[in-house]
Symmetry: D2
Subunit: 340 residues, 4 copies
């Protein structure tokens, strides 16, 4: 069986494994205070062009979203997100567990529309009863989104401008940041993204690491005692070196981008094949997640040799997701294309 099921069902990239082996017998201080974390943070600051950025390593995405959002909000505030946002759907209420409401906007292929955001904020403050409502306190978007789409630089700029106007921090969930930055046609660099937001993270789990998300406050703007907040959320790894070593490796010589670029390239090959062979794409994704409508017979045929997710029916067809990753071999894609 060849798997296109997700970007988190392989182990870790071999360069990481190699570093883990090399460093295994060394002693290191716990809780992220070790030299590997220090080195990884420095490489991240450099890659972002933000020498003063505050960087923290957490273990997984849901945990990171909850910790960052709790840390940035006041108790009476909620987080603005699109309806399909990961925090609104697939985090078992982790945001509400922290006491905050997810305030939803429509999703456009997973993306927030800056015009709708502006309108929402205008309407909120125009409502004479807003003192009885949940205040917006942060804007949450995802790059790339859960639907495989990406924000253009202009779109990010527009959202960022509105956030500034209302003094709302902008938080970019980067669980798939690598694929977003290396997306076909992307015009947003890591440095530009760091410029435009107040906090984001560089996803490791889905981009080559075994685990780990690097939270970046680009403007030396981490909330006071963020370390303690991480601990309070159960998100502080005792052997923090495990995260430090992974990110130090991923950030060395642009490995993170190379891996993501490879995955996107394979996804584009797949998309082109789908289109060429007359399949209808559910959405036009420039990243490592491809959504295609397949009829029942095709699904059953492909299932024999390939693993992929069936998201939900669309009329008579099934919206199927094929995901590539750093671990996807060109010959796997060849095999799938041949089978179409």
């Amino acid at each position: 069986m060849i798997s296109f099921e997700s970007d988190y069902n392989n182990g870790c990239h071999e360069a990481i494994l190699k570093r883990l082996i090399e460093t295994n017998n060394e002693c290191a201080t716990g809780y992220g205070l070790d030299d590997y974390c220090t080195a990884a943070k420095e490489k991240i600051r450099l890659a972002c062009g933000k020498p003063d950025a505050d960087v923290f390593f957490l273990v997984g995405g849901t945990q990171t979203n909850a910790t960052v959002i709790d840390a940035m909000l006041q108790s009476y505030q909620g987080v603005l997100a699109v309806e399909t946002g990961h925090i609104n759907v697939h985090e078992s209420g982790a945001i509400e567990f922290g006491g905050h409401k997810v305030l939803t906007l429509p999703s456009h292929d997973g993306k927030m529309d800056s015009g709708e955001l502006a309108q929402w904020l205008h309407d909120f403050y125009a409502d004479p009863t807003y003192d009885h409502m949940v205040f917006p306190g942060i804007v949450y978007i995802t790059q790339a989104t859960e639907m495989g789409s990406v924000y253009s630089r202009a779109e990010l700029q527009a959202i960022s401008d509105i956030c500034h106007r209302y003094e709302l921090p902008l938080f970019i969930d980067g669980a798939r940041l690598g694929y977003g930055l290396m997306a076909q046609g992307s015009d947003v660099s890591l440095e530009q993204l760091a410029d435009l937001c107040d906090v984001f993270y560089i996803g490791g789990t889905k981009c080559g690491a075994y685990c780990g998300e690097a939270v970046v406050f680009p403007h030396h703007n981490a909330p006071a005692h963020f370390f303690t907040i991480v601990k309070q959320h159960g998100a502080l790894m005792a052997k923090g070196r495990l995260l430090g070593i992974q990110f130090d490796t991923l950030m060395q010589d642009g490995l993170y981008f190379t891996l993501a670029g490879h995955a996107v390239q394979q996804a584009m090959r797949l998309r082109d094949a789908f289109v060429r062979k007359g399949y209808k794409m559910y959405s036009d994704s420039p990243t490592n997640q491809q959504f295609v409508l397949l009829d029942k017979a095709t699904v059953e045929r492909l299932e024999k040799d390939f693993v992929f997710e069936q998201w939900y029916p669309v009329g008579d067809m099934m919206n199927c997701r094929f995901v590539t990753s750093w671990a996807t071999r060109p010959e796997d894609v060849d095999a799938l294309i041949a089978a179409l």
Copy 2:
């Protein structure tokens, strides 16, 4: 420098590393539904003598404590623990973040006294105003404790009996369970411990793994939808195989116990040497943590070659902690003994 700083500043045991290397290129389902987790759970059930036990893998100790306690408590209940309990001191309020009070009893070298527990519960229900107070909902103890001490079988039995009488579940924090079970003179087996409590965990992070704690509900008594509660707490690892592989290795051929036994053996050598050479032990620990009172000159002398923690001053002396682990080499202990 030779480190006796903690039991979590090395990497992982080489057998684990070997398995990680061997399995790295395999594909596995996420979220702990993979074959490695399944195999590890089965080995844990066997080791506990509890074929119906529910087993879950979480990443770290604070996270595990908060998740288990939240899952077991009703909203109006708190957790009974000794004042020095990890949840009461060193978890940044993770329990309170979940809405629950830590109700404290005196600590006796880190242990709860069953008589004091019985008295506390008697007094609580005898107080005519108890409906205005936080109800006790679970009892939390640690084996081995933060102070290196262990409960005897009779002590555990006594606490367990009181819990049953008051219909309170008993939760044993096993972040250092291996060292507790292999403690010098210990008369509690893993199976007996599983019999006496309602939930406990087998600590991986401090006993040979890179990360991971295996939560065991021995009597097939996991709270409904515990998987979702784990996710809600940000404690569900996407690549759950990382935890499964580690525990499957540790539970193979008793490796977990061998590693812990080694650490205890080295700690006993150290303790004997301290005593023999006339140092005063702060407490009489039969596990891998040794607490000894050193004068300033000795501290300064030893600091040149050895890493260890200075906990707090006791009169003119400093209470110093020396910790061994699976990674402690006999020659490291020889060197320290020679330096005393």
Copy 3:
């Protein structure tokens, strides 16, 4: 100025005031354990035809909603409500403060559609990823709704049936229960309503009292230690007699229903006049809240002598709310009708 602004801007009904005067010098135990509360509870049980009902008195609506919902939910569950539900809009996130998500369904004039509820629940459990989502744990509806509409007996029965099928408790917010029960054409009695749900409350604040909401668990099914949960939510009144006296008075000889019936009667007079004079009603409300579309000139003219709320613009018109209450005098309605 004559006010149609809301049903909570007068004091309390004179019969209540009379009782407060009569009883003022008596001594009574605190926290709702007094004789007035006992008598009021008994009258409520009788009115509901539920001799075993558990009854509690809380102070206000938001507080009551949060306390009841927190008490009925497990930590991983959320509450199903329509988008316009009070808990989703106008309670400043009190539900989320308690850790729970509000899961929303479309609003039909403020009401939940039983078919949409069934579909939502079907889809939830059909989704293979539901273990990563917030579980539905209770259904929340309002009678009468925030939009003045009421559920028919058949509609309540249909929702209740679905709740039973999915083992979900049904909670009816009765902040305006009196107006709902006495609504024009209503076919739901208090006893029938109590039969069909698991918990509801009889709103005092908006129906003649100064404050107070009577929570009823009709089937002797109050959550364990609900008294303590009320205290924990800051909702336990020290001088509980203030609530007991009010409800004992309202439940005496059907006063509660008489007051609500009066308000509805005045609202119907108003509605008929609006319709007769050619105004367009925004909705067809059979209760004490009337929504009518007025042009700017009319709004400005009426504002000189009458107080009412302008909810939001609908095209060129303004959707205006006129509310009657137990305190609305027929001559006030006469005056408004004359001014139309």
Copy 4:
């Protein structure tokens, strides 16, 4: 039966009742935006000598404590209080429900010792692991305390100074503020108290009102959107006028102080009689709560005609509480004295 059970088992002072009657038929805006609230706030500012103070009216004490503390704390902070503090014992975990730990200091007759506070804070920041602990975020004391004692001006000044040194706000729970200010020998005026703290409240429930606590941020230092936080906590009364009218009456011509002074005077008569007749006082309280040790026979004898609380046994004796209030008649005290 003559009651000395508590200071909240009578109705309200007749002047309040009179105002409620007079104003009952008036219309007023909801949520504390009415003229009575406005007038009451102004009187409170005047009485405190703080023309810029922010004033809010809440319903009860537990609610007020939870709302104020949540509003003032960051998520990683806890509240410092003495072990016997109301928030630590008798609020069913309302503080923890909001996510915060109560950090406890020893109680000295209900009071916090400034030296111990200073030591606690010194030790906290001296602990190298404090980043893993709950940060102190506010200091909570009670005037008068649950044990009837009061802080002198010098004691308040000392605590206030330490708070300033550590940039911790000082919160004074004034559920019994009237009795504290009018305590025998008290040297603290309302204005001085307002000077020394960051937030306090003027308790109505136990000092003549039916309900209501007036929260005062004396230095125009209310947290942003405190109104919304009050609503979120279910503490915003719809008919806020009920609170406004009561405080407007209590603050008129010093009624609040007159009532409290009367209660203290009667308590002093009682205390003198106890002492004169050879009874042993459990503590030396200068306020309206008196604690005296009675033998079993005396308890049984007095119980026939008087209501009072038996707190807990002290050796062979019972520590009994006798409470006076604005409603205590001199002849009631005469009767009790005669019965001794």
